[in-house]
Symmetry: C2
Subunit: 398 residues, 2 copies
């Protein structure tokens, strides 16, 4: 497969453990694939990967290796490796979009890098230079830029991953690691997204995260415990789980997304409520961005598409429970419920199965309401560079 | 490396998904290593692996592959594999011991197989025939029998592992899997075991497991969240964490071991207390075996070594809190505290750091007390076949 090897710089001189090599983008070695794959027509999320991948490894005596971009292919590891046995594995979800002039763009990528560093620290993986990783990701996106779809709603999903590779069975932090980035072209994540709402099953018997747990970090290990409940929910006709916590049925996350409810106020304004970053939910970038855009609309710093300029949206990051949601619904005050995340952007909730009944959301048949629709449109506008907003969209220059 | 290929049977005929192949020990293919490694003198736990490994793979269209025993070596996987991304990875810890006539022996291995099956189900991995896996493990142990150490307290640690290998990024159960078994010779796990007590740091701010979580299953993902707290504890001079849960400082596990306290009663009997199997702690085989042996002593079905035959030991599987332990300690009633697990067998607790102070255990300087010592001796007697007890020790005939 390999045709081009371009060592950009010699490895740093090592002098014992005192001089561990940093992850250094200037040492990148690029090996291009000899044969490029045909581009898929309508790829399922995450199944087809692009032609190349980025990789670097960390060893306790030498530090970070020279990073490589090379043809996509399998990785080979000792079966005792920590990633298989104890799961110190972290990842990020990012997307590359095509801008108005066809240029590749990323969305607030520094925030992904900062979260990745926090995730790595949480499971005691070695630290790395976040700027270097971002520089390398931009290079990878540029090399595989032909994979960024042009269809609206389609994009190139980017999956930075760090796994522990210590090849010993003692239960201890992994002192070696592998960082890699793979990419997959994607259409809308849910078939129902932007159309009818997603049916969620509220589950509190299996608990995704807990105070003092790891739900606030993007760790691979947060996801497998959801597989079985997710399968059981699917058998009942629900496409995702709405994870509850505690005796008060507190809403945490929906599937792997953040949850929002829009509630009518007596003064004609709207309350937009989402659970707080208390360590049990992921600090989503789309969540953060939606909250900022709603606040900007209310402050009249922008007008969100389709919303009255005078409409005031009061954002609340606060505990939100199923009984509250049910009460708002019964009173006719619950106007919208939607989920946000990198994969979906903004997706409507259809109904929520809870205690044997379905709580039907206004978005069941019609899809996103006015607030969700405004956010989806504006987020996509910014992500694809059609609207400039506070430097959130970053052109992938290399 | 490969010199011998012995296909024992042809693959089953497939007829769509209705006829998925079972894991079938009779289809085992053995490929022996050409060169055998020298045996290590004093191996660290889990670092040196034996010459061979067992492997089988599962694919959704065909079921289980013919199992292979082959030279130990790396495994090669797609970087998108579920095991790296979402961690549906489960394992077991078992040991092979040498019997009085040098024969390899396993300790209650069916219980490990049953727990492995429950772990796999919890993270939605494909099911497998537990008898087949045990038959294959016995064959692997027999092939690498020269690795079973003869030194007292030493044994061959066996690590059955199943990992999800679905190579797609959508968050869903892994419909393909790899089962493998690797082995590593081991001496005593802690340098301090059977000598001075292990210093534990009681931690309740980081929480290992919770109601509705996965702490009651042997999942790889239960371990990485402990790496950082473990490192911080080590910096303070504690070798393991005593994991607490909730406002009442409930004791769950110690490191990756089960916790026991021995308390003097006014009537001269002893209470032996260990946390219950409420889903937040691992149902340890050593825990189960210790409880059974203590009950057998009290019922005069056996006499544990060094204990008075008339000594009555009242076992209690019930919630146990740090304040309780502290109160017993202050009253002079706390006679012993020890940890049990496959790796350690029975190991004394030295002190427990809690709320800025050290709670010093009676076993701090002297090591195991009479109950812990009796259990360690009897468990090792049974494991090594010196004492027959209820068929717990199984000769590895193949």
């Amino acid at each position: 497969m390999a045709i081009e090897k371009t060592p950009l710089a010699a490895p740093l001189a090592m002098n014992g453990s005192a001089h561990l090599a940093e992850l250094d983008a200037s040492r990148l070695v690029v090996t291009l694939a000899k044969t490029l794959q045909p581009l898929p027509e309508n790829p399922h999320f995450g199944e087809i990967k692009t032609d190349h991948m980025l990789m670097a490894t960390y060893e306790p005596k030498t530090g970070w290796s020279a990073p490589e971009i090379k043809p996509y292919g399998p990785i080979s590891l000792d079966p005792a490796s920590s990633c298989f046995q104890y799961c110190p594995n972290v990842f990020e979800g990012m997307k590359a979009y095509r801008g108005p002039n066809g240029e590749p763009r990323l969305f607030r990528p520094k925030l992904n890098m900062e979260r990745l560093a926090r995730s790595a620290e949480r499971v005691a993986l070695p630290p790395f230079d976040t700027n270097a990783v971002l520089t390398l990701i931009k290079r990878l996106v540029a090399i595989d830029a032909r994979w960024i779809p042009t269809k609206p709603g389609h994009s190139l999903y980017i999956r930075p991953t760090i796994i522990g590779t210590r090849a010993a069975l003692g239960v201890a932090a992994s002192d070696s690691a592998m960082l890699y980035v793979i990419m997959t072209p994607t259409g809308p994540y849910f078939n129902t997204a932007n159309a009818k709402g997603i049916p969620l099953l509220a589950v509190g018997t299996t608990v995704r995260s807990w105070p003092g747990g790891t739900g606030g970090h993007k760790l691979g290990l947060n996801y497998a415990p959801g597989f079985l409940p997710q399968r059981l929910a699917a058998e009942q006709g629900y496409s995702q789980i709405l994870w509850l916590l505690g005796d008060d049925h507190k809403i945490t996350e929906a599937g792997a997304m953040n949850f929002f409810a829009v509630v009518a106020r007596d003064d004609g304004d709207l309350d937009v409520v989402t659970p707080p970053l208390d360590g049990t939910i992921l600090p989503g970038l789309t969540r953060l961005s939606c909250l900022a855009l709603l606040d900007a609309h209310t402050a009249r710093r922008t007008v969100l598409p389709g919303l009255r300029p005078a409409l005031r949206l009061h954002t609340h990051e606060r505990a939100l429970t199923m009984p509250e949601l049910a009460a708002w619904s019964a009173e006719g005050k619950l106007l919208e419920a939607f989920c946000v995340g990198t994969a979906v952007a903004v997706a409507p909730v259809g109904r929520i199965g809870w205690e044997g009944k379905d709580l039907v959301m206004p978005s069941e048949e019609t899809g996103l309401g006015e607030v969700g629709k405004a956010l989806l449109e504006r987020v996509l506008d910014i992500q694809t560079g059609r609207v400039e907003w506070e430097g959130w969209s970053v052109v992938c220059e290399v």
